[in-house]
Symmetry: C2
Subunit: 193 residues, 2 copies
Amino acid sequence: MAPRTTQILEAAARLIARRGVRGLRVEELAAEAGVSTGLIYYHFKDRTGILRQTLEFISDRAERYTAGHVARAEPLDPRAELEETLLLELQDTPVVRENSTAWGELRASAVFDADLRDDLARATLVWVQEVAALLGQVQPTAPAPALAAAGERLTAQLEGLSMRWLSGGLRIDHARDLLRGAIDAEVAALRGD
Amino acid sequence: MAPRTTQILEAAARLIARRGVRGLRVEELAAEAGVSTGLIYYHFKDRTGILRQTLEFISDRAERYTAGHVARAEPLDPRAELEETLLLELQDTPVVRENSTAWGELRASAVFDADLRDDLARATLVWVQEVAALLGQVQPTAPAPALAAAGERLTAQLEGLSMRWLSGGLRIDHARDLLRGAIDAEVAALRGD
DNA sequence: GTCTATAATCGGATAGAC
DNA sequence: GTCTATCCGATTATAGAC
């Protein structure tokens, strides 16, 4: 991909995280990317095209981000590794907030845009499987389908809590506590199986 | 509430579910409701006011159909009651789909629109407390804070699963199975406390 | 490829008649 | 209470120079 295109998409992702899909202004995007509006329209067909490519870009980047974390492979015990992986997404730092916000926008946009769904589903699957694998290290005797289901639940739980946090309904510390509680409950249920 | 207001709010809920909050145009709302744009502004302060009242309308309506199921002929045991209340929101029927879609949109919009947050938080709290109360009937010995936390988790879990369903990442039957599993895990954890 | 300047459109909001 | 007509600022999108 052309460097200019990437530069604009990165700026668009930042802006979507800050203002939302609805709040993205082409002129503001140009300023954020350090180019002119004319150039935006040279590289993209129209505003919808920008949006579509940016949302694809966000879901691609999410895959890389998750993969990078796995490759880091620190010698934590499985349970701590699981907890850290999930709690990583519930931190009030600029980068996490931006990623989570953009991800939420992507998820919400996909409800009305079928073209986005495949990418989103793929990125979600990678994430679910990573969590399921970590759960498998915590409870090696648990059957695979139970691990898969717990992975789906915990990631969906995290998305739900994240949205409440971002929409101002939950303070971050409380959201983290709640997520820890959910992990406890799921791990206990896998042990009970 | 004035019949005209209700008529407009019903149209707004339909439109939000169909096009998203982002796609709601006052002119289109007028057409959908069968009135003029001028009348919309007679009944509502501005576009945000429409959104805010639609949010209230949607959560009231959700309560109403929840309450409707409570008033069934044969009273269910608390556990079944809890499960049915939550699963009610995960059904592929027009009215539930419309409500869930609109709710998801408003949640996502609140991330960028502070004006929506208070109402959203209030509506969420009512819901969380209702679920906590049902949990309290299932596990009367559980301490109140544990019930509150479980209520917050289960409702956030449901929102997360609902978004995945609506964005095409999860089939409805599977989403329902996952939610049942989450209820099992939470109830078991409360028993263990 | 990139910019500046500007045309064209969109959409929220209001005025005023009935 | 309700409508028609319209205003006007905000944004998208294009033209044309470099």
